[in-house]
């Protein structure tokens, strides 16, 4: 790991900030932009969460209690779009903005104005998306996967949804360019690539994935738009087109997308576990190669989302085998994290609690993923709650817990205050227990035969749905503890030291004061 040789990087005279609303509207400072992204993501997490609670409320008992089935479909569609594109991705970008320059000893991101545009696109994109609920025909209701012909049956929400997705995509692509240019060009002298903190490595690889696949999504949704309004027949069989082609194009984006949603989480956990185990990450090189392998393999597995579509046998076989293969580098990472803990000296502060919960629960999601890879068995799992359970395990106690771990890890660096440990521990335990109560029974529901994306179900599915809904409400409301904690921490609290975590943490970000000065590393540190 790299250590700064000198404290000359402390720029006490550079701490004056712009003021007023202009500071935020015209922000070019990576710390401010990082804050904007994180706060936006937090807001979207609650909006998407409210949609989830509406869904779980309807599914609490059989029968329709609250919603018209068409509106229910728009709830589940928007829940996914908001969570994926509005909560998880912006949160990771916010963490990248805050931490990459600090971790590589750079004064800011390479392209600060483009950074500003990348952020400010998002509130407009989501205003467009959410306002579509008020159009004739209601919000988009064909699933976040937008399969035609169903997605083409949408009313006036359709162009709003497509434009919103284009905007989010542009934001992501610009952000990714920024990350790559920054990491490749602005590392402090002596920081070779194989000394890069793993959070930076995983973000570097994620950025390449984003640039590769967001344009593919843009192409796919543009074809939907032209099919709907301009008489093309890309996906319309009557005109010689193929609805399945959309699925191929979408999932060519979609599979790397799910790795975009998890690789930064791997990086975060790779920073936190060594810190609180008081032991360096085991197998740094292997971790880098494993991440790169996962990224490469992610391009050749897409059709495992489409096993029931009627592919030729050779196709099914290829995608089954390549999907099973991707379990290998993922497993290697889990083993390396475990080996980091082995013969360590662990303490269990909130970041470590969330990182360990990630390790256990993401692995469970990985197991259900392996089961889903087995194509003949997948015929029984596809489009059931088993799939819903799988991806929620890897995304919620996976990606979201890693984001929370990162916030708990770096918040004292950002704010200069330690937060309320008791509240953090309550947040952790209630979240962890309730997230399992919420999602584990969904495995049973899927295996017992409950399809997904339905507002009502046959009565034998009642018990597990009730349990899941209770878990959902407890989980949802316990996130209020997180907001209270952050609010209190921003406003005050015990002073945090520069090192914050008793000198355990290695990395350039711990060589600047807490809170990090507005401008840091104006002079690059020397790294050995």
């Amino acid at each position: 790991m790299a250590h700064a040789d000198t404290h000359a990087a402390h720029d006490h005279d550079h701490d004056h900030k712009p003021s007023g609303i202009g500071r935020w509207l015209f922000a070019t400072n990576h710390k401010d932009i990082g804050t904007l992204y994180l706060l936006f993501a937090l807001l979207m997490f609650f909006i998407g969460g409210a949609m989830a609670l509406a869904i779980r409320a309807e599914l609490y008992k059989p029968g329709l209690q609250f919603f018209d089935p068409g509106f229910y479909n728009s709830l589940l569609t928007s829940h996914a779009l908001v969570m994926i594109f509005g909560a998880v991705m912006p949160a990771f970008v916010g963490l990248a903005n805050w931490m990459i320059p600090l971790q590589i000893g750079a004064p800011d991101m390479a392209l600060p104005r483009m950074n500003n545009y990348s952020f400010w696109i998002l509130p407009f994109a989501f205003t467009l998306l959410l306002s579509s609920f008020f159009t004739a025909g209601g919000g988009p209701a064909g699933g976040w996967t937008l399969y035609p012909p169903l997605s083409l049956q949408a009313g006036d929400s359709f162009p709003l949804t497509i434009f919103a997705i284009h905007m989010m995509g542009a934001s992501s692509i610009m952000g990714a360019i920024n990350v790559i240019v920054t990491i490749m060009n602005m590392r402090a002298p002596g920081m070779t690539l194989l000394k890069l903190p793993l959070f930076c490595w995983t973000w570097l690889i994620t950025a390449y994935l984003l640039i590769a696949v967001m344009p593919v999504l843009a192409g796919a949704v543009t074809m939907l738009l032209t099919d709907h309004y301009f008489g093309t027949s890309f996906f319309n069989p009557a005109g010689g087109g193929d609805p399945v082609m959309f699925q191929h194009i979408f999932w060519f984006f979609g599979h790397p997308e799910v790795y975009i949603l998890i690789l930064p989480a791997f990086g975060i956990v790779s920073e936190i576990i060594p810190t609180f185990a008081r032991k360096p990450l085991f197998g740094y090189d292997a971790m880098v190669y494993a991440t790169a392998s996962i990224a490469f393999l992610s391009f050749i597995v897409w059709a495992h989302h489409m096993f029931t579509v009627g592919m030729p046998l050779a196709g099914e076989m290829f995608f089954m085998l390549s999907t099973m293969l991707i379990a290998i580098p993922t497993g290697v990472k889990v083993f390396n994290w475990t080996a980091t803990m082995w013969k360590g000296s662990m303490t269990f502060e909130p970041p470590m609690l969330f990182a360990l919960a990630f390790l256990f629960l993401f692995t469970i999601g990985g197991f259900s993923g392996l089961m889903l890879a087995i194509a003949p068995a997948d015929f029984q799992y596809q489009d059931t709650y088993f799939v819903v359970a799988h991806f929620h395990y890897v995304l919620v106690p996976g990606a979201v817990f890693a984001i929370m771990a990162a916030v708990y890890y770096w918040l004292p660096k950002w704010t200069g205050h330690m937060y309320n440990m008791r509240l953090a521990n309550w947040h952790f335990w209630v979240s962890t227990v309730s997230v399992n109560v919420l999602f584990f029974p969904q495995h049973f529901l899927g295996l017992a035969g409950m399809p997904r994306r339905i507002p009502d179900y046959s009565t034998q599915f009642t018990d597990w749905n009730m349990v899941s809904s209770v878990g959902g409400f407890v989980f949802g409301f316990s996130q209020i503890l997180f907001v209270i904690l952050i609010w209190q921490c921003v406003r005050g609290g015990a002073k945090a030291t520069d090192k914050v975590w008793d000198g355990l943490s290695h990395g350039l970000e711990w060589t600047v004061p807490s809170p990090a000065p507005y401008h840091s590393f104006d002079t690059p540190p020397e790294v050995h």
């Binding site: 064909g142 197998g283 082995w342 003949p376 029984q380 489009d383």
Partner: protein
Amino acid sequence: MLNRKVLSALGVLLGAAPAVAYDSSYNMPVGVTQIAREVHSLHMIVFWICVAIAVAVFGAMIYSIIAFRKSKGAVADTTMLHSTIVEVIWTTIPVLILVGMAVPAAKTLVRMDDTRNAELSIKITGYQWKWQYEYLGKGISFYSSLGAESNYARQLHSGIDPNTVKDYLLEVDHEVVVPVDTKVRLLLTANDVIHSWWVPDFAVKKDAIPGFINEAWFKSEKIGHYTGQCTELCGRDHGFMPIVVNVVSKEDFARWVADQQAAAKAAAEGAAPTATTATTNAPAASAAAAR
């Protein structure tokens, strides 16, 4: 290499109860076809392998959390940085495990793909929001929609408790009737958007795509009613277009076919619709008696 019989036996041993539709609230049904049994076995084998790996990996994690904690005085071994041998081992062993899973999976996949030598072909068309079934070469064709009682109860604010409705959301007004021990070939398509036809007891799930025809097959070894649902989001009533397959003896099937053809002939000749159209499901009583 596991052959079919060993696979099935393993599956039964590994925790399957002989099942009719939906008897477990936890697990996949074993099903009533050879393929379904193989699929169930694959599922259970992969599941138990995952459990074994989980025991090992979570065991190591839990042990670490207990034994290597600072509060117990553990001192970190900071020289433990990497080991190429260990990386090779814990890459190679998972590869071997995966190969072990892939071989039986591939065999079952190949068998599922073989739609040759079917004795009966049914064309299934997905509509928003019902199914249409056409028995090719027999002149039998009908729509199958959610049963009336379920349909009333499921309306928003219906005031009817779903628990009072028999087979809530899994009943239809016109069941699909097929003979037992007969390879039935399904040709799937759709009229509007993508639907998907799934009957868990047969382990058959195939998308019904407008403008295209997909093939699937099953051969039920047991008489009975087997239910399923649409499994591709298809709009507002995606959750309300179930499937009910009534597997009957070959004699009962022949009688049913004759009845259906007679009714179709009578309808075509402009006669008033007879009571037969209302009871188009094969008689359950004689099916039970035949057993």
